[in-house]
Structure formats: structure tokens, C-alpha cells
């Protein structure tokens, strides 16, 4: 009966057909449509465009070659020595930086979670590195580690660890390690912040119960802290790995990938291919490979952390 009266009203009121849709299950999709469109414009379109570039030749220096080339870039990548070096360096760089950052971040978070006097100030101090833009942090550390003026060289020589000043970023044996340490310094507050939030969420009663049950510090850490932080750890690692894989800025400032590709990583290689060699097609293909590596990593990682939870 009500339905009949509503349809008879629809002729008079211009919005009453909307009113009818709002009673159906399609209403949800209608409401979501604007944000979907926006998402498509800012997320899907650039991504798809990147994929399209990767199967085209697009060199600003040689416009005559531009056009569809299919899988050419991917095939030449397989025999590109620099690509494989970059892949290896990316793995080392990301794994080492995340490990160090996570350890430092965890120690900082546990310390900050103690609520001792002064921890609030200390909390702000610990976050400072993260406030610095990568480029600024890079230049700062380049100066600190400078082979002629660097204060760190000076300290190490005075303390007797070094006989003479060392060019940390110019030596292929130390360049990657030095950049990893700078990155770790810059990135550990991210973990500290997330871990601190996670630690605050663990009920105090659990530790009390464990104390009454007779568990020691290590058991409490292993059976309460780590499992309770598992979600936070998973999320933090994924976010951090993605940002590390995708950001070439620190390496661009410190080493530019050198010496001799010893600090070359995929993101930097793609960046240089695009903006130094103006070879957008190949750079696009490199980015697509990074995209898939990250996707596979995230999927496997999430799955693994779920399996261990059960």
C-alpha cells in the first residue's frame, strides 16, 4: 500500500525518485560513486599510465623511436647488469635498514613507555630525526661524514679507531653500510612511535598475571609483548618497506648510486633512467617490476604473520 502511494507522489516531487533509490541496496553504490571517481583519477589512472609507458618506447632524446614495443624493456632488463645489482642492493638496503630501525625503535619505545620523569621531552627528541626531510638529513650526514671536514672522522681518529680520515661514501666497501646507518638513524622514530602506541595498548593486568604465574622478563616479552604487538609490527614493517623501496632521495643526495653502482637501488635506478637518461619507457618497466615485488612481498608477509598467529 505504501509503495503505491509513494509512486503516485513521484510525479509531483522531483527528488522522490532519489528517495525511492535510497530504499534499495543500490543506494550504497550511488553514495560511493563520487569517491570512487576521485580515487580512479588520482590512484588508478597514474598507475595504469605507468603500466602503459612500460610497454612503450618513450625517450625524450630520441622521439623518433617512440611507439609500442611490447615486452622489450622487460626482456632487456633480464640482461641488464645494473638492474640485478640494484635488485640485490635494494634487498640488502631494505632488510638491513628495517632490522636496525626496528631494533632501535623497539628499545626507544620500551624506554619511553616507562613513564619516568623526562620521558616526554625524550619522546620529542627521539622523534626529531623523523621530522627532517630526507634531503636535509642526507646533506647533514654528508657533512658529518665528510672525508675532509667530517666531525665523525675527527672523533674516530682522536679516539684511535681510525688512522686517517675516511671517505665513507666513496669506498665501495663502506658506502652501502654507511648509507644504511644514515637511513636507520632517520627512520627508527617511525618504529618507535608505532611500537609505543602498541605498547600502550597492552593491558597492564597481563604482565601482573604473568608475574603472579611466575613468568620472568623474557617469557613476558616473548608471550605477551611480541604477540600483542604482532599487528603493529606487521603494519609498520610493510609501510616501512614500501617507503624504503620507493624512496631514492637519501641515496641520491649521499652517493648518487655510486661508487660504481655499489649503492645503486631500484628506485634510484628508475629515477635516473627517467630523469637523467630521459628513457621513460625503461624507467616505467623498472617501476612496474618494483610494484610487483612489493605486492608479492606484502602478500607473503601478511600471510606469514597470520599463519604464525594461529
Amino acid at each position: 500500500m505504501r509503495r503505491v502511494s509513494m509512486t503516485s507522489n513521484s510525479r509531483r516531487h522531483p527528488f522522490s525518485s532519489l528517495g525511492e533509490i535510497s530504499e534499495t541496496r543500490y543506494w550504497v553504490y550511488l553514495l560511493l560513486l563520487p569517491s570512487l571517481l576521485l580515487l580512479f583519477l588520482v590512484v588508478a589512472y597514474p598507475t595504469i599510465y605507468g603500466f602503459v609507458i612500460s610497454v612503450r618506447e618513450m625517450r625524450l632524446t630520441r622521439p623518433g623511436l617512440n611507439g609500442w614495443v611490447g615486452m622489450k624493456h622487460y626482456i632487456s632488463m633480464m640482461s641488464d647488469r645494473v638492474f640485478w645489482i640494484s635488485l640485490k642492493n635494494t634487498a640488502i638496503w631494505v632488510a638491513a635498514a628495517v632490522m636496525i630501525e626496528m631494533t632501535l625503535g623497539f628499545i626507544a619505545a620500551v624506554a619511553l613507555n616507562r613513564n619516568l620523569p623526562g620521558t616526554r621531552l625524550f619522546g620529542v627528541l627521539i622523534l626529531l630525526p623523523y621530522f627532517l626531510p630526507n634531503v636535509v638529513a642526507g646533506h647533514m650526514w654528508a657533512l658529518l661524514l665528510d672525508p675532509r671536514l667530517g666531525v665523525i672522522n675527527d672523533i674516530l681518529v682522536r679516539l684511535g679507531f681510525l688512522s686517517s680520515y675516511k671517505a665513507w661514501f666513496a669506498d665501495p666497501n663502506t658506502a652501502l653500510a654507511a648509507t644504511i646507518l644514515v637511513e636507520a638513524w632517520h627512520g627508527f622514530p617511525f618504529f618507535a612511535l608505532l611500537f609505543l602506541a602498541g605498547l600502550k595498548g597492552i593491558p597492564e593486568d597481563l604482565y601482573k598475571a604473568a608475574a603472579v604465574d611466575g613468568a620472568g622478563s623474557f617469557t613476558k616479552f616473548k608471550l605477551i609483548t611480541v604477540p600483542m604487538l604482532k599487528t603493529v609490527i606487521t603494519a609498520a614493517v610493510i609501510l616501512r618497506v614500501i617507503s624504503l623501496v620507493n624512496s631514492p632521495d637519501l641515496l641520491l643526495v649521499l652517493t648518487g648510486g655510486g661508487p660504481g653502482n655499489s649503492t645503486q637501488v631500484l628506485s634510484l635506478y628508475a629515477f635516473q633512467t627517467a630523469y637523467r637518461d630521459f628513457n621513460f619507457g625503461y624507467a616505467g618497466a623498472l617501476s612496474v617490476v618494483m610494484f610487483f615485488i612489493l605486492m608479492v612481498f606484502a602478500t607473503i608477509y601478511i600471510r606469514l604473520s597470520r599463519i604464525t598467529k594461529e
Binding site: 593486568d205 598475571a209 608475574a211 603472579v212 604465574d213 611466575g214 613468568a215 608471550l223 604477540p227
Partner: protein
Amino acid sequence: MATLSLKDVRKSYGSVQVLHGIDIELEDGGFLVLLGPSGCGKSTLLNIIAGLDETSSGDIVIGGRSVSNLPPKDRNIAMVFQSYALYPTMSVERNIGFGLEMRGTSVDRRREAVARAADMLQVTHLLDRKPANLSGGQRQRVAMGRAIVRDPDLFLFDEPLSNLDAKLRVEMRTEIKRLHERLGTSIVYVTHDQIEAMTLATKVAVMKGGYIQQLADPRTIYERPANMFVAGFIGSPAMNFLRGRLGRGKSGWQFMAKDICLNLGRSKEKLEEQEVILGVRPEEFKVVHHDIAAAFHGKIDVVEPTGPDTMLTSLIGGQSVIARVGPRFAGRYGDDVSFTVDPTSVNLFDPQTKLRITW
């Protein structure tokens, strides 16, 4: 099973003293309830007994053994937390057996003990589940299982029923009482719920501001509260306080106020003429009809039937009084009403010190 004695236990955080010389003796197999409003220090005291918090001074003796300097695990106590504090990543079985596991009990004996505790609490069918997949009442049972499985000297309960809904709370209260009767282990139980205190305790310590206001069995606490705080805290609706004067009448001491004249009886020689506060429990008022000899005369203000009985608010000489009367009470707003009260059931308080006047 063991006795518990607290000897002049004090605790301060910085310059703030939260416990002021607590002395408690609990007999073997006793059930001590620490009762008080939030912030009275009852949970701190429980944590101190457990060893989760240190005393500033004083001694804690469990079963004749001073445990003040021992860590929680060496005090042979078990604790049930308000939040249950079940380990979220462990199965129910491991949760219950965790205390034994930490003490190096063999797997077989552990399994046996867990099975026995689970059976007692009817959670055997839940042993494989994770705490996240349990209801509130089930978690509560598991938390209790974790405590009883170790057969400790002393159980500590920290507001164990506050997170349950009303119906479940009553059920679990009965369960705890049954458990206590069955196991006979001494219990210290923290709550702000006076019903829990009355139903469970063999001894109640009413606390406020870090002091014990009264330490006695529930009956005494209810019938002879040591001061007006205890009198007002225990009982719902609360005890009525009526201002008036104590004077000598023809038939002995009398409490007098406007529209009130209550004979207290003869042999009360310790009293003196003074301003006093009369404390009367709502259920002690008896409605009488047209009785000139009645002690209280007033007008009905509000009638609130609750089912089993009716709460009757009356104005007596300008003072508001709540009486618990029979369910079929027929008065209404504005009617005259008269009450008598058994003089042996009332308490007198000093208006200055707020303490009960003994007589």
C-alpha cells in the same frame, strides 16, 4: 590454606600517602572483602598483598611466613583480575596451566590438574579455544580456573565481577561462594559492590581514603556500623540519618526531633543529653495506622513499588526518610503516615565526630 595478617602496612607514592597503617587478621579459610569507593586504596592493598606493588613499611604474613620481600611468584598466591588478563595468544588449556608450566610441573600432571579445574568450573569443552572466542562469563571462569589449578595458599580477586552483566554477576557470585566452600582456601576479594561484600564475606574491611573504617563480619557492619560513612555506604537504599536531640523522658532515654519521639529504653546509662544523628535502616520502619503512640509522624512524598517491596519516601518534620514497606502498601502522595521502629535496631551517631555512640 593459610592465615593472612597485615601489620601496619603503609604505602605512599612520593608525598602522597595512599595507605595509612592497615592492620588485618584473616583466619584460615576466611573470606575477606576489601570494600570501598574508588580511590580508597583497596586495589593498592590487594596489589601489595600479591607483591605487584611494594609496601613503604609494614609486614605481610601469609601462613605464618613473612612474604614482604618476596616476588609475587614466591608468595604462593593466585589472582583473578577484573579484566581477566587471559593471555590472548594461548589456548584456554595453556592459560589455565600456565602457572604450573612456569613452575616446571610435568606435562602429565599439568594436564590432569587443568582437567580437574576445568571440570570444576565447567569449561572442559572450551579448552582448545582462544580467549577471544569466549563470552564474558566464560572468560571469568577460565580466569578462576587459572587461579584454582595451582592450589595456592591464598586467592586474590580484584573486582572479578565488575565486567559482567547483572544476571551473570549474580550467577558468578554464587559460583565463587560455592568454590570457596568447596576448596576452603582463604580469599581476599576487592569490590565496590556492597552486595558482593555482604553475600560473600566472612569479614569485611570497609575502606576510605587509605584508612580502614571498620573491620568486622558483614552482620556487624550492617547492623552496627562504626561511623556514618560505613552506615551510608552499606545498604541500598542507604541508612536514614535524622537530626535530633537525645533527652531523658519518663521511660528512659528518648530521641526527639520535630514530629519524632522515639523511646530508646531504660538501661542506657552511658548516654548524655546532646545533639545526635539517628540512623535507621529503611526496612526497620513499620507503618502503623492512627497510632498516637507511633514514634514518627509525617506525610508521604513518593511511593515507588519495586515488586518485592515498596520504597516509601516520607517527610517527617522536614526531614526526608525512606522506608521499605510491604508490596501492597496503598498510601499515596500527601497522605499522613506514621511509623514505629524497634529501638534496639537503631544507631546513634555523634554529629561532630560522625562516630557511632555505643550504648
